[in-house]
Amino acid sequence: MAGFLLRRLVNYVVLALVATFLAFTLASATFDPIGVLQQRNPPPPAASIEAKKRDLHLDQPIPQRFVTWMSGVVKGDFGQTIVDRPITEELGRRIGVSLRLFLLGITLGILFGVLLGVVSAIRQYKFSDYFATLFSFILLSTPVFVLGTLLKMGAQGLNDSIGSNVLIFVGEETPNFQGNWFEHLGDRLQHLIVPTLAIALGQIAYYSRYQRSSMLDVLGSDFLRTAQAKGLTRRKALMKHGLRTALIPMATLFAFGFGLLVVGGTFTERIFGWFGMGDWLVTGISAQDTNITATVTLFVAVCVLFSGWLADVLYAALDPRIRVN
């Protein structure tokens, strides 16, 4: 099993490197930071443009630029933005902001998605099943940028009807907030609820659909009947034999689901004014900044890599056949 997990890990690391190289190359080839600089009014002097070109290594061929950047990354230096600010300075804070959103979103999504899917499957064609199906169909058809804005409108309506700002939907904390640790936590929570909902609802819908169909497959299986025949209660048979088997195909979905989450997170961060990695990506591409774009890509790749690897570990934990081989 250790061999299997190690092989997968090596595979993911190679993939992440190739993905980052690809993003770096594409960004270097399409971005034109000097053009952005020249459009400034008044136009900067030729000497400073030349200096900028040297700073950004634009005089080197692209593969060499990648090697330069990557050797910096290994030492913990992600390079400079085009306005000469070190990327490392902002990186930690932005990763924290994004991860908080992602981890909460995916935890809630998996927890409630699996629950909803299992309930739907067990009570197939009952009212609750139809309701859950309709709910997830509507949510899966609603892109995050629509859902997020709708939630914002809903929160505004709620705040207006209560008459106080209970749900705050701009930023991730109140700037210059004064108070003790506990009040800080409360302030963060107020900011957290609506964006987390925006990202978790889609995840719940996504996982519940798959969990429902994989649970339905298991419900009709012989081993579940056997388990009940030898005297287990239905609840126990469902939880111990049914759910565990039905969770196996779900493990593979986590890797897929995470890519979705990252893209969804970009919209969520922009809508709610969180300065996380997704927000940085949009800023970076708009400013045609290769280093920012490559750094965010590396972050995305590492996230997907980690969740993919975690999925493999889960897979091995849930499915004894993998462990034996």
């Binding site: 993003a23 940028f145 409108m153 505004q156 949009v282 995305v300």
Partner: protein
């Protein structure tokens, strides 16, 4: 979102496609062709019918809708700025006095057109590449699998966003090609898997031993036997292409002005959604309802085309039981 949905969902149809030569034979005594069977099953699914109705209506509205009002998207009504909906402007007006109905119709037209084109192109490419890779295996096959893996780490949204400065100011056809270029890969992987089983079948072997060239075998014997999968896939791809396009356009990475799409309308008006909701709600409503309809139709087609689909079988069993009683 739906791109990822495809893999798990369509996996169930593998049986449908490989079993179709058998199904195609009419049952003795009854003039029941497979086509008729599928049609009857589809017609029985009320949600899918409603979805189909909505899709047809939306396409009609997108192209004929502009005739319903005397305003065009270029007109400015200097007597009405930011007016909520009323008789003359049924969807209200924006801050420069443009009729929102005319503008929404124009956006809808572009989004639906892009969705349809991307779906057609990507499904065609997926069929050709997947079948070829599965039939010949070898290097092409390895490359395909690897590219799909890579796309998991590097979401297509990110790649197209990075490339957006390059196609800015050029024709929207480039966007169509870009979207199609990243949408075919997961389907191609499913097609590949099905080709692997199909090419061991007698009729393919017979054709091979009769000396048919591989090109003919793929075009005449392999791809037609996956028609059900490809139809479902093309349908769902319309929805996911529309979602991908609107998502990119939301950030200004997709459709560029002077072109308008649902995404640019939603993105441009999301900020003012809480104060001027009609600017946001109409384009967003059209988008959600359209994607929802596509998902319903895709789901209905899957049930109708897939003989192993439990939902249809259970319903048919119920019907025959009721008839017997």
């Amino acid at each position: 979102m739906t791109v990822i949905l495809n893999e798990g969902d369509s996996a169930g149809t593998a049986g449908a496609a490989s079993g179709s030569p058998v199904d195609a034979a009419p049952e003795p005594g009854k003039a029941m062709t497979r086509g008729r069977l599928v049609f009857i099953r589809f017609m029985r699914n009320k949600l899918a019918l409603v979805g189909l109705g909505i899709i047809v209506l939306m396409y009609l509205l997108a192209f004929l809708g502009p005739l319903l009002t005397h305003w065009t998207y270029e007109d400015r009504d200097y007597t009405a700025f930011l007016e909520p909906p009323y008789a003359d402007h049924i969807f209200g007006t924006d801050k420069i006095g443009t009729d929102m109905f005319a503008l929404t119709m124009r956006g809808l037209q572009k989004s639906l057109l892009i969705g349809l084109l991307v779906a057609l192109i990507s499904t065609t490419v997926a069929a050709i590449v997947g079948a070829t890779a599965g039939y010949f295996l070898g290097v092409a096959d390895k490359a395909l699998m690897w590219v799909v893996d890579l796309l998991l780490v590097l979401p297509s949204f990110l790649i197209i966003a990075i490339l957006s400065p390059w196609f800015r100011g050029k024709s929207w056809w480039l966007l169509v090609l870009m979207l199609a270029a990243f949408q075919w890969m997961i389907t191609a992987r499913i097609v590949r898997g099905m080709t692997l089983t199909l090419k061991e079948r007698e009729f393919v072997k017979a054709a091979k031993f009769m000396g048919q060239p591989a090109r003919t075998i793929i075009a005449k014997h392999i791809v037609p036997n996956m028609a059900s999968l490809l139809i479902i896939d093309a349908t769902i791809n319309v929805g996911s292409a529309v979602l991908a396009e609107t998502g990119l356009s939301y950030f200004g990475f997709g459709v560029q002005s002077p072109d308008v799409s649902l995404g640019t309308l939603i993105g441009g008006n999301a900020e003012s959604a809480t104060t001027f909701p009609w600017l946001f709600l109409f384009p967003a409503g059209f988008l959600v309802v359209f994607v929802l309809a596509v998902n319903w139709v895709g789901d209905g087609l899957r049930d109708a085309l897939d003989p192993t689909s439990t939902r249809v079988r259970k319903r048919e069993k119920k019907d025959t039981k009721e008839k017997a009683a």
